[in-house]
Amino acid sequence: MKTRTFLLAMFMLAASSVVMGDGMQYELRVDGLACPFCAYGIEKKLKKTTGVKTVAFDLEAGKVIVTTEESARFTEDEMERLIEEAGFTLRGMTERELP
């Protein structure tokens, strides 16, 4: 019984790690980030979006860097819509899984 419980616990742990997964990091290229009215608008929009963990800016490179929680994923179309709702145009996006 103890062995079965242990195996079940191990299986659930392994399964949960697959479901949870690691977060993602998205780098969004957006024009006009030097103006805080723009940057704060994008930050406000993204921070209210379910699954978004952090939002940071690289003004030098004109990029918004977004990390997500656990299994949250966004397509480029979804990101484009969010950025458009903040009043801007998404010029490009790269993504990578966080270690």
Partner: protein, 323 residues
């Protein structure tokens, strides 16, 4: 016939060219301002800033929106830290991203861009009340960027993402609006991301029409009076005198002159109430951010500027006479 018409048009253009050049490339009509003092630097300790975005003056004190630190800091005219107002958060009395400020009737009005409301404090820092909620309806806001307060306590709010300016009673009841909710426009009375508002002594309303790169002016009865900023004030941005590249703040000086923070051009421009260019001044940024984001004018003519790029406050003055 056709040739004669063409000839007449060409002559007209040649005759008008010097006139338009004067109108669109005006000379400097006043002495330059000098930088008297500056204070701050990046940080979260008292006296330091993390992105200053708004400024107001009253009674010998300077109030500064310290946006990423979620607070207002108060200084004397020499930059000595006096006190902090508010702290970061979402609850009433807390600040998300404080932007342009107004001081009226002994109270401080803060446009809170993230919490979609106007927060009101006593000048000593006591929280008094919040006006507005998130939304697109009358009296609601979507990222208010600036506020002005009339003699009777009525509020005028630059409602950034709603593309409008709202006129509200002191308790937040809707009176009227300029602009069409949620739709940008470049014709007179329409806006593209309005960032700030200011009132003249007679109740004339000046609107910083942010991404239209212009100032729009409305009479106390609400009718459109005039606009300026580049050729025909039709969203043509540029670095020339009297042109703008994203207008982020507007203030009225003690003599009725208009001071405009011209953000991407890193300068404050000074105009007569009718929009005649007078002079310009500002600090060169290190980049990639820009410097002059907000402006306020004291009764002695000192001009205070929030320098976004350097995380500093600057005090400027005109050597030979005030505004």
């Amino acid at each position: 016939m056709w040739h004669a018409c063409l000839f007449r048009s060409a002559v007209l253009v040649i005759l008008l060219l010097p006139l338009t050049a004067c109108a669109w490339f005006p000379p400097e009509r006043e002495a330059a301002y000098e930088l008297l003092a500056s204070w701050g630097g990046k940080g979260d300790a008292p006296g330091r800033f993390n992105e200053p975005t708004g400024i107001a003056v009253a009674g010998g004190e300077v109030f500064v929106s310290d946006a990423r630190n979620g607070r207002i800091q108060v200084f004397d005219f020499d930059g000595r830290f006096l006190r902090q107002i508010g702290s970061a958060g979402e609850e009433p009395g807390k600040l998300g991203r404080p932007m342009n400020l107004a001081i009226a009737r002994g109270e401080l009005y803060v446009a809170d861009y993230w919490n979609d409301r106007i927060e009101v404090f006593s000048l000593a820092g006591e929280y008094r009340r919040s006006i507005g909620t998130s939304g697109t309806g009358p009296g609601q806001f979507n990222a208010p960027g600036g506020v002005a307060v009339g003699k009777e306590g009525d509020l005028f709010v630059a409602d950034f993402y709603n593309q409008r300016v709202q006129h509200l009673r002191p308790d937040g009841r809707f009176v009227r609006q300029w602009g069409e909710t949620g739709r940008t426009g470049w014709t007179a009375g329409r806006f593209s991301y309005p960032t700030d508002v200011a009132l003249g002594a007679d109740g004339t309303l000046y609107v910083a029409d942010g991404y239209n790169d212009r100032i729009q002016v409305f009479a106390p009865d609400g009718t459109f009076l005039r606009k300026w900023g580049g050729p025909f004030a039709l969203n043509i941005h540029g670095p020339f005198r009297g042109w703008f590249a994203t207008v982020t703040s507007v203030a009225v000086g003690p003599r009725g002159n208009i001071f405009v923070a011209d953000f991407y051009n890193d300068r404050v421009q000074k105009f007569s109430a009718e929009g005649r260019f007078l002079t310009a001044f500002g600090s060169t940024p290190r980049g990639p951010a820009h410097s002059a984001i907000a402006v306020a004018v004291a009764s002695d003519g000192s001009v205070f500027v929030a320098n976004f790029d350097a995380h500093r406050v600057e005090r400027w003055q005109q050597p030979a006479g005030g505004p």
